[in-house]
């Protein structure tokens, strides 16, 4: 008994200590708000004379910066060396480099440059090779050979390809396939580290060309690596592994860095530029840059110190990537970024007198992240540098929070007056928000946009009641059906379409519909049909629901005979409208290849429309808006609203103006813009493409035959047709997520024959009525 008590006491004390030491740290956030004088200031500096693109940049022993790059337009190559502060570039033009492309390059501390790429030979053939530019600008080949890997998969590939090609040719192809170099980097002792396509890292002795395997990863796991000083940072989806470049040993895990990568995973990797870049002050002190800002990190340190917040700088733009970062001068940094088609140099210097910014903050809330939203935000940031924009994503994908829970928290915050200023309403209970007076009338903003650029009035009308508009999508998609005239006519009502499909199936001519699985069919049909379901009393009419379900089941059964479920997975994980944006054009291509005879899906871009017409020009067929009743429906996307409790009405309206602006409407992405001028300019771009040679798109089928079609040049008539289709839209599909979820969930069971039609309809009606009764 006594002993037990003592144990308990120890336990209690342990908990006490743990508890007391921990709770103090929770107020960390407030500390950063104290005003500090002095901060890093961003400025864009000129690229070295003549250079538009950076291939590689590095810091030399004497502290100057060397950049290897070219002029995108003339194709001339340069090496530029700066002074100590990253200024006054000395540019040398390189001749005789003769590459057709460069896959990787790196600058060594002594000033020499390693270039992997495909080089043109004297006999005009191309060869994968490594060229070294010495500090004296002499260019030489360096022969190298990958150490043998006994990869059975590789040999298998080899055998397969050898059948088709000659042995020698096969070998080179295999070699390139397996040992293409994606990235290379020098360490401070002049060894070159190389990442091949397989995702292995090799270490090369630069004087002999001898290579040894440094470390290996599973295929596709390694995304990027950086070598700084004597450390190699290998970045995978799971985090960062750090190796010593001297002996290849792996150093202890750095959890802060791992966490950082997990929170900002690399999503794309281009040639020579990535979404993160590292530089070292010394072995243990690291500085890195990503879309969140500039950070200082001490090896194994418990936190990364933010030197610069990316907000309102170039860094926050998610479309840019980094060539590299190097420290210059006392406390400055030079960052090479890739933006659009060209590179830019940004210099960050410490300005003692710049006051720490205390800015107005604009909070934007969306349930789901989207690339378009991010781009609009960065456009806003650049235009309104004095406003700090904070984007909150309710369901950020890795915390398992459901939409329900996210909305509950959001509602609490709004009710407490601490909510966001701007809402992206996709997936939210918009009607309730409007009824409860949570949203502001945004018609003044819309009017301004309308005056400047024009809006699709018909879309605006849908959201305007009594002259007031509380929400409005900035983009929209529409459901189309495409195929032979008979099919398209039949599709005008669901029962007819089902009957038509049955008849086709008896003919046995292979695939009829796109292979989109049960959920896909329910989804696409819902978008075409649901707009007709609501009776005058606002409830769902049972008859319509029945028709819909029956048609879906027939189509599903017809399709099942041939279905490989090619696109099934695509719909399985469906979350937002945009994930299925532009499905029509995909299925139209399948009509060309003979996979299906009728195509339906969402159409959300002028170019998608062009593809559709191009295929029709080749194999015939017509397309039509797919609506099974009087109403012509569309799917809204990026629905915007301003919260009524906001204190930043002006800023919020400015943001909406940018969201609806021509500039943002022109960004290619999901959906047609509601901005008329943006739509027109999208059309004009395609109309004026006379100069380009005829483009052909071709597909190779499983049996080796090739099918191709010529891209049609759009005529004014074509555009007119499209425009009139858009202008005929007069209702949004039932976007209530709750109802949609009921229908899809129960419909799935019906399609998979787990319950009868009556059961399904009753079940859906019961739930819908319950929902409406609340």
């Amino acid at each position: 008994m006594k002993k037990r008590k003592r144990n308990l006491a120890v336990l209690v004390i342990l908990i006490l200590i743990a508890g007391l030491t921990g709770c103090g740290t929770s107020s960390k956030e407030e500390e950063t708000e104290t005003t500090v004088q002095g901060r890093l200031v961003e400025e864009e500096v000129e690229m070295p004379q003549g250079m538009t693109n950076i291939f590689a940049m590095g810091k030399l022993e004497d502290g100057s910066i060397e950049i290897f790059g070219n002029d995108y337009n003339t194709g001339k190559n340069y090496i530029a060396i700066s002074g100590k502060e990253g200024e006054s570039w000395q540019v040398t033009e390189l001749e005789d480099l003769n590459y057709s492309y460069i896959s990787a390059a790196s600058v060594a501390e002594n000033g020499s440059v390693a270039i992997f790429g495909s080089f043109r030979q004297e006999d005009n053939s191309a060869k994968m090779a490594l060229k070294i530019i010495s500090p004296e600008k002499e260019i030489t080949y360096l022969n190298y050979e990958f150490p043998d890997t006994d990869d059975s998969q590789l040999n298998q590939n080899m055998a397969n390809i050898q059948k088709d090609l000659g042995k020698e040719e096969a070998e080179t192809q295999i070699y390139n396939m397996n040992h293409g170099v994606e990235q290379c980097a020098y360490d401070s002792s002049g060894n070159l580290f190389i990442k091949d396509i397989q995702g292995n890292i090799y270490k090369m002795n630069i004087s002999t060309g001898e290579m040894e395997k440094f470390c290996g990863f599973e295929q596709g796991e390694l995304q990027y690596f950086a070598v700084e000083g004597k450390r190699l940072y290998a970045i995978t989806q799971k985090g960062v592994s750090i190796y010593s470049t001297e002996d290849g040993s792996e150093l202890p895990k750095d959890h802060v860095l791992i966490q950082m990568i997990k929170e900002n995973p690399l999503t794309s990797w281009g040639y020579g530029c990535f979404e993160i870049a590292f530089t070292q002050k010394d072995d243990r002190n690291l500085v890195y840059v990503n879309h969140q800002g500039l950070f200082y990190h001490q090896e194994q340190g418990s936190i990364s110190e933010q030197l610069l917040d990316a907000n309102n700088s170039y860094l926050c733009d998610n479309t840019i990537s980094f060539h590299g970062i190097e420290s210059v001068g006392e406390a400055g940094y030079l960052v090479g970024i890739h933006m659009g088609e060209t590179s830019k140099l940004l210099k960050y210097t410490y300005d003692e007198n710049a006051e720490a910014v205390v800015k107005k903050q604009l909070n934007i809330y969306a349930l789901e992240d989207s690339e378009l939203l991010r781009q609009v935000v960065s456009k806003y940031r650049i235009q309104y540098p004095d406003v700090l924009v904070q984007v909150t994503i309710g369901m950020d994908g890795n915390s398992g929070i459901t939409a329900e829970e996210a909305i509950r928290t959001l509602n609490t915050e709004i009710m407490a007056g601490k909510g966001p200023d701007v809402l992206v309403l996709d997936g939210m209970p918009v009607e309730s928000y409007i009824q409860k007076g949570m949203l502001v009338d945004i018609s003044p903003v819309l009017e301004k946009v309308e005056k400047e650029d024009g809006l699709f009035i018909n879309i605006k009308e849908v959201y305007t009641k009594n002259g007031k508009a509380y929400s409005m999508p900035s983009r929209f998609l529409m459901e189309v059906v495409e195929g032979e005239e008979k099919a398209v006519t039949a599709a005008s009502t669901l029962p007819e379409l089902a009957a038509y499909a049955k008849k086709l199936a008896q003919g046995g001519n292979g695939g009829i519909f796109p292979e989109i699985g049960a959920k896909g069919i329910l989804m696409e049909l819902y978008q075409a049909d649901s707009v007709n379901w609501l009776g005058e009393d606002g409830t769902i009419q049972e008859e319509s629901l029945k028709n819909y379900l029956e048609a879906a089941r027939t189509i599903y059964n017809v399709e099942r005979f041939s279905a490989q479920g090619a696109y099934e997975e695509f719909y399985e994980s469906f979350e937002s409208v945009c994930e299925i944006g532009g499905t029509a054009q995909v299925y139209v291509v399948d009509r060309l290849t003979g996979w299906n005879q009728i195509a339906f899906g969402t159409l959300g871009s002028v170019s998608g429309y062009r593809e559709m017409l191009s295929i029709e020009a080749k194999i015939g067929g017509i397309n039509e808006l797919w609506n099974t009743g009087e109403q012509k429906s569309f799917l809204p996307y990026l629905m915007m609203g301003i919260v009524s409790t906001t204190e930043k009405q002006q800023e919020a309206e400015d943001f909406l103006k940018i969201m609806f602006s021509k500039e943002c409407g022109e960004i290619s992405g999901c959906g047609f813009p509601v901005n008329r001028a943006a739509y027109n300019s999208q059309c004009d771009v395609l109309l004026s493409r006379e100069d380009t040679a005829k483009e052909t798109t071709s597909y190779t089928l499983g049996d080796g035959t090739e099918i191709s079609y010529e891209t049609l040049k759009l005529s004014k008539d074509n555009i007119k047709q499209l425009t009139s289709k858009i202008e005929s839209l007069n209702e949004a599909v039932i976007t209530d997520r709750v109802i949609q979820d009921f229908v899809l969930e129960e419909g799935m069971k019906y399609l998979k024959q787990e319950q009868s039609l009556e059961e399904t309809v009753t079940e859906i009606m019961q739930k819908v009525n319950l929902y409406l009764a609340e």
Partner: protein, 284 residues
């Protein structure tokens, strides 16, 4: 006679055993799932989670046991650590706070007569029964007023003043015979001394059982942290357990299993006290 006794005994054993199997099942389930590789797991649960054809099944012993999930969880998931310690911090502080505040409250309610006592007792019972959603918004407003939002205190303080343990300890304190206390008062002890030297030791069982249950409550709470803690770094473990997708199911199960362990230890430790009545202690 003998046969009926045997049959009775058999019935009892079957009843108890069946209950035990049903309750212990999830533990084994999480345990075996933690050691399965993703392929095996997805094969087993895909019909349920993804609506694939076929029936779900389970292997109580993994066919291809792997440590991968556990290793990934313990070595490669710093956020798991962070949240684990957050949970320890939050739960620990709440329990200590309860000893300081709830224990005297229960004693005061159980041993003294004063006006309004009954009303307070009822109020406590009802407040502990109200579902959290109901008061969530108002609680949020209060926490906002006293500037506790987005700090772990916003979860800790309501936890400390949870009336559940007052209710539970009340019963145990009320069971202490009045004579024992009177005797102490005769010896010149003041009320505080009576509480510390007689009440606490004799109500030990009640205190421990209240703590054990409170521990579980705090350790597994989801709603409050999610509503009041915006920063992920402050979250507790129950929020970490990721949404179970087929690829990550093994990992999720390993996480759930590890999260369950402390609670299990607390149980095994506290169980003796849980079922010890007051008089049993008094008679010693």
């Amino acid at each position: 006679m003998r046969i009926t006794r045997c049959a009775g005994k058999l019935c009892k054993t079957v009843f108890l055993g069946l209950c035990a199997i049903i309750t212990i099942c999830p533990l084994l389930f999480l345990l075996s799932g933690s050691f399965m590789d993703s392929l095996e797991l997805s094969e087993l649960i895909a019909p349920v989670i993804q609506g694939k054809e076929g029936m779900a099944g389970w292997h109580w012993i993994p066919r291809y046991p792997t440590l991968q999930n556990i290793i990934e969880l313990l070595l490669d998931s710093p956020e798991f650590y962070k949240m684990f310690w957050n949970s320890v911090k939050i739960t620990g502080t709440i329990l200590i706070g309860q000893l300081v505040f709830a224990m005297p409250s229960a004693w005061g309610l159980a041993r003294y007569e004063f006006p309004g006592k009954k009303q307070i007792y009822f109020l406590y019972i009802i407040l502990m029964m109200l579902p959290f959603q109901v008061t969530m918004l108002s609680e949020y407003l209060v926490l906002d007023k006293i500037q506790l939002l987005n700090s772990q205190w916003s979860v800790i303080l309501p936890g400390i003043f949870s009336t559940f343990s007052v209710f539970l300890m009340y019963r145990f304190f009320a069971g202490i015979p009045e004579e024992v206390l009177e005797a102490a008062r005769m010896d010149g002890a003041n009320e505080w001394q009576v509480f510390c030297h007689i009440g606490v030791p004799l109500g030990y069982a009640g205190i421990i059982s209240a703590m054990v249950l409170q521990f579980l409550e705090c350790w597994n709470q989801i709603e409050r942290p999610m509503a009041f803690l915006k920063q992920k770094e402050l979250w507790s473990l129950a929020l970490y357990l990721p949404e179970i997708s087929t690829e990550k199911a093994g990992f999720a199960m390993a996480a759930a299993f590890v999260a369950l362990l402390p609670a299990l230890f607390v149980f095994l430790y506290g169980q003796d006290y849980l079922e010890r009545g007051i008089t049993a202690t008094v008679q010693k």
